[in-house]
């Protein structure tokens, strides 16, 4: 039960972090970062998504099988985006 009780603290910590990151992403968009704007926004979003997945979705405590499946989804998404963009970015 102590682990369960600890979780409420970690939930609140994650929530606070998410709010800070939300502020950060809005703040970053107010600055003119040029070509860095998209990578910065995506990096912040990835950290937020990671926090939600790891803590709220219990991925941290999940079996390696379930972690593997979560990674597989991202990996296949990556295949699709990268190979397609490899065509689009090199079209003459």
């Amino acid at each position: 039960m102590s682990q369960e009780a600890a979780s409420i603290r970690s939930y609140l910590a994650v929530f606070a972090a998410l709010m800070v990151l939300l502020g950060a992403t809005v703040g970053a968009s107010l600055l003119d970062l040029g070509f860095l704007a998209l990578p910065v926004a995506m990096a912040i979003a990835s950290v937020k998504a990671f926090l939600v997945a790891a803590i709220f979705m219990h991925l941290r405590q999940s079996s390696s099988l379930i972690r593997l499946i979560a990674c597989a989804g991202l990996f296949w998404l990556g295949i699709m985006l990268m190979l397609t963009m490899s065509d689009i970015l090199t079209r003459v």
């Binding site: 699709m80 190979l83 397609t84 490899s86 065509d87 090199t90 003459v92």
Partner: protein, 548 residues
């Protein structure tokens, strides 16, 4: 596989079959609301057989049309609708669900010693979803037809076709979810519901193949769903997504479409490979050579299959760099396929081979798949693909894979597990005759198409220059033989249901948990959960089949 359950006594023609999944209720309701994976498999079998003959009838019609250079039967519009409905029905409503939804549904729980799939209600839902999609596509075929080809290429499909694209695309969208649900169910079942002692490397190779197939279904099909949704949105709202006139990129559609539809080829062929990996050890009475390599090759094909879709687009206007990358990656998927073929052949070495009907299909599969696979090298190879893509060479190649591969595998599976599924034995004589007819008819239909393709005859032509006529006539002659070959099993298999002799629990004296149940299996599959204590395919310890 040695199993700690007691061997069942040989059943000799009892008056009434013992309780089993078939006589467990006769009402319509007991079938339409069943949660039993075996009954759902039968529902699927009936439905896909219906779709197979619809698609096949369309094929026979347009093959007859192509007897003369100007076209013998139809106006262009009808011809275009016929080949489209042939493609859509065969790909989405026959080949993709064929082995997974029929044989996989029936066999996965039996082979791993489970009582059912992990999610029986989802399983039943998947059949209803499939039927809903099929009905809608059937409606599209009747109400206005559809003439885009099964590939739905934009902007033709979104802006120019006057046919019922929306209904057909919706049908494909819906039926995709049946595929997703089946794949999800199999993955969860294979991970979580294996019998005690049934470790990963004790699994039958068919299970490995189903697992690999399920991965593709789960990860690829959602992309198809989104793709046809976007197609529908563009067609309805006329807002640019794919149409260049509206600022879109038609190649984006092709990327999205082939991201699913190339791996979909492996949804069709991997299960057949699994079937062949079961049949060959049984009829050669020998453990499969290189079990782990065959198993891992299935997984490798499922993975690598997602990296190669761009080889459908070498002349599409894709960048040269993109073409080179996709060609390079495409060759890697050839390797695991080659490994499988070599291992199957090596399994035959020093075996004790009997050429019964399932084995004929399995050996036919290896030959035709090898040839189909090798001709795939021509298409992965950039220089030659320029010339042969979009011609009958492509048509011949993928029919060697899909008919010579997937359909031969499906028929092999039906003939191999028919005694298990129905408890009856079909006529071996007619089985062998029809296997031979199908083999001959198939090659006569599709081999001339390779030559036609290299000569330059484009696919989807309702009329052609007269010098192509000889080869077209040969192909049509083959198609009529092939059509007859496909009708024969329908007849003698149905006949066997009533008049065939009873099969007994293990008709072929095969290994595997499914053969430790009675035939047909009882509703609960196993009285007690079996425990697996040894390696699979221990044929050296099995007695010979009572069919010999």
């Amino acid at each position: 596989m040695n199993v700690s359950t007691q061997p069942l006594p040989v059943v000799t023609e009892p008056r009434h079959a013992p309780p089993n999944y078939l006589n467990d209720g006769y009402s319509v309701r007991s079938w339409l609301l069943t949660l039993d994976h075996k009954r759902i498999a039968i529902l699927y079998m009936i439905s896909i057989t219906l779709f197979f003959f619809i698609g096949g009838a369309a094929a026979v019609l347009f093959r007859v049309h192509l007897l003369t250079p100007t076209g013998a039967l139809f106006d262009p519009g009808t011809y275009n609708k016929l080949f489209t409905i042939h493609g859509v029905v065969m790909v989405f409503f026959f080949l993709i669900p064929s082995i997974p939804a029929v044989m996989g549904n029936f066999l996965v729980p039996l082979m791993i010693g489970a009582k059912d799939l992990a999610f029986p209600r989802l399983n039943l839902a998947s059949w209803y979803v499939y039927m809903a999609g099929g009905t809608l596509t059937g409606y599209a075929a009747i109400a206005g037809g559809i003439d885009t080809g099964w590939t739905f290429y934009t902007p033709y499909s979104t802006m120019f076709s006057n046919t019922n694209v929306i209904a057909a695309a919706t049908g494909v969208f819906i039926t995709g979810f049946s595929s997703i649900l089946t794949g999800l169910n199999f993955i969860a079942t294979i991970h979580k519901m294996r019998a005690p002692g049934l470790t990963w490397f004790r699994l039958p190779l068919f299970i490995w193949a189903m697992y690999a197939t399920s991965v593709i279904m789960v990860l690829g099909t959602p992309v198809l769903a989104m793709t046809v949704s976007l197609l529908g949105i563009e067609r309805i709202f006329h807002v640019g997504i794919f149409d260049p006139a509206l600022g879109g990129d038609p190649l984006l559609f092709q990327h999205l479409f082939w991201f699913y539809s190339h791996p979909a080829v492996y949804i069709m062929i991997l299960p057949s490979m699994g079937v062949v990996s079961e049949i060959i050890p049984c009829f050669a009475r020998k453990r499969p050579f290189g079990y782990k390599f065959i198993a891992m090759a299935s997984v490798a094909i499922a993975m690598l299959g997602f990296f190669v879709w761009g080889h459908h687009m070498f002349v599409s206007g894709q960048s040269m760099y993109g073409g080179v990358v996709f060609s390079f990656l495409s060759f890697f998927v050839a390797i695991p396929s080659a490994v499988k073929v070599f291992n199957w052949t090596a399994t035959l070495h020093k075996g004790s081979i009997s050429l019964q009907t399932p084995m004929l299909y399995a050996l036919g599969f290896i030959g035709l798949f090898t040839f189909g696979g090798l001709t795939g090298l021509f298409l992965a190879c950039l220089g030659v693909d320029i010339h042969v893509t979009g011609t009958y060479f492509i048509v011949a190649h993928f029919h060697y894979i899909m008919v010579g591969g997937a359909v031969m595998g499906y028929l092999g599976a039906i003939h191999f597990w028919w005694p298990k599924m129905t408890g009856r034995v079909y006529s071996e004589f007619w089985g062998r005759i029809s296997a031979a007819i199908i083999f001959v008819g198939f090659n006569l239909t599709f081999f001339p198409q390779f030559i036609l393709g290299y000569l330059g005859m484009p696919r989807r032509y309702y009329a052609y220059p007269p010098e192509f006529q000889v080869l077209n006539v040969m192909s049509t002659a083959g198609a009529s033989i092939l059509g007859l070959g496909f009708l024969l099993p329908l007849i003698y298999l149905l006949w066997s249901l009533k008049y065939g002799k009873r099969a007994g629990p293990n008709y072929w004296k095969a290994t595997g948990l499914e053969w430790t149940t009675q035939s047909p299996p009882e509703t609960e599959n196993f009285e007690t959960t079996p425990e697996v204590v040894s390696e699979p395919y221990a044929y050296e310890f099995m007695e010979l089949g009572n069919a010999d």
